[in-house]
């Protein structure tokens, strides 16, 4: 990548991020959403997060792939489920993944 391309990429990514994060509050504030929306909003987080976890751990571009990182995330998931902190989970995930790749 040329220097100009890199900086254009950086600036354009910033612009789209600011626009997307600002769009909802810009257009919709000051107005109460209908009553049923609260329940949908509360359930947005599990829907989005589950999709992010699965695509991050199981997808490589447009292919589904199971790798060392999938195993690392799975082991960390068990620890997190049993009450480990996110810091421990992240450290274990990286460690397990690195060990599996080293073998």
């Amino acid at each position: 990548m040329s220097t100009a391309t890199v900086w254009t990429l950086v600036v354009l990514c910033a612009v789209v991020t600011v626009a997307i994060k600002g769009a909802g509050p810009l257009a919709l504030g000051g107005r109460e959403l209908p009553g049923w929306s609260g329940r949908v909003i509360a359930l947005l987080a599990p829907a989005l997060l589950a999709a992010l976890v699965c695509t991050a751990a199981l997808a490589d571009g447009d292919e589904l792939a199971i790798g060392a990182d999938t195993a690392g995330v799975a082991v960390a998931g068990v620890l997190l489920w049993r009450g480990a902190s996110i810091v421990v989970g992240v450290a274990v995930a990286a460690l397990v993944t690195a060990l599996l790749r080293a073998i």
Partner: protein, 230 residues
């Protein structure tokens, strides 16, 4: 109007500090995530300065990873920016959900909306879909600091760390979101919606550009309505 009897400014500071404290574990994880971004960005051909500036002004991990990896693979500028936009598209429904909890005119609300991160949004969400905005600002502030620190260490020390994958740093990102997800799975409805969202996303992966599966998965939240009606 503030719902408590305490002076609003004091109350705000207390909630901001509560947000800071709640954000610390996520900030520590953010540090390692952005460290891996710094290493990946250098490998992709960005200068250390470009990587650091990108974290400072974009501050959206999934978009940064997507844009840099696609640009590095020769995907072109348009594809890289589109991927960043799609990865960020989940912030659209999140921003719509947040909007009624923000005071002020459109521009002031849009500025406050910049404080949304995945953990701060999820942690600031209270009963009935209302958000505690000062809590969210605090939670985001500590993550922002950690995000910058991690990028600087990764971008400047990249040669010391070598290959991000060899160190297993690519497992940090999904684990980060898994920790957030597990905290959300208290109700049966949430578990059902999460399973549906995961299924939707995985089915779409082979057919759509990265980012689209996650955006479409947000529709799973509407399944919660049917459950209550039933």
């Amino acid at each position: 109007m503030e719902p408590t009897a305490a002076p609003p400014s004091l109350d705000r500071r207390a909630r901001f500090r509560a947000g800071l404290r709640a954000g610390v574990p996520y900030a520590v994880a953010s540090f390692f995530l952005s460290l891996s971004f710094g290493v990946v960005a250098r490998d992709a051909g960005l200068s250390s300065l470009a990587a650091i500036v990108m974290s400072a002004i974009v501050f959206a991990g999934s978009a940064q990873f997507a844009a840099v990896s696609i640009a590095a693979a020769g995907g072109g500028l348009a594809a890289a920016v589109t991927a960043a936009a799609l990865m960020n598209s989940r912030f659209l429904p999140m921003g719509i959900a947040l909007a009624p909890s923000l005071p002020g005119g459109p521009l002031k609300r849009a500025a406050q909306g910049q404080a949304v991160t995945d953990p701060s949004w999820a942690l600031a969400l209270g009963e009935g879909g209302r958000f505690d905005r000062w809590f969210m600002f605090g939670c985001t502030a500590v993550q922002y600091a950690a995000w910058q620190a991690g990028t600087i260490v990764g971008a400047l020390g990249g040669d010391v760390f070598g290959d991000a994958e060899r160190l297993g740093l690519d497992a940090v990102y999904p684990t980060f979101f898994l920790a957030l997800l597990l905290a959300e799975l208290r109700s049966r409805a949430a578990r059902g919606v999460a399973a549906l969202g995961a299924l939707l996303a995985l089915v779409l992966v082979p057919f759509t550009p990265p980012g689209v599966p996650v955006l479409v998965a947000s529709l799973a939240a509407f399944a919660g309505l049917r459950r209550r009606a039933a």
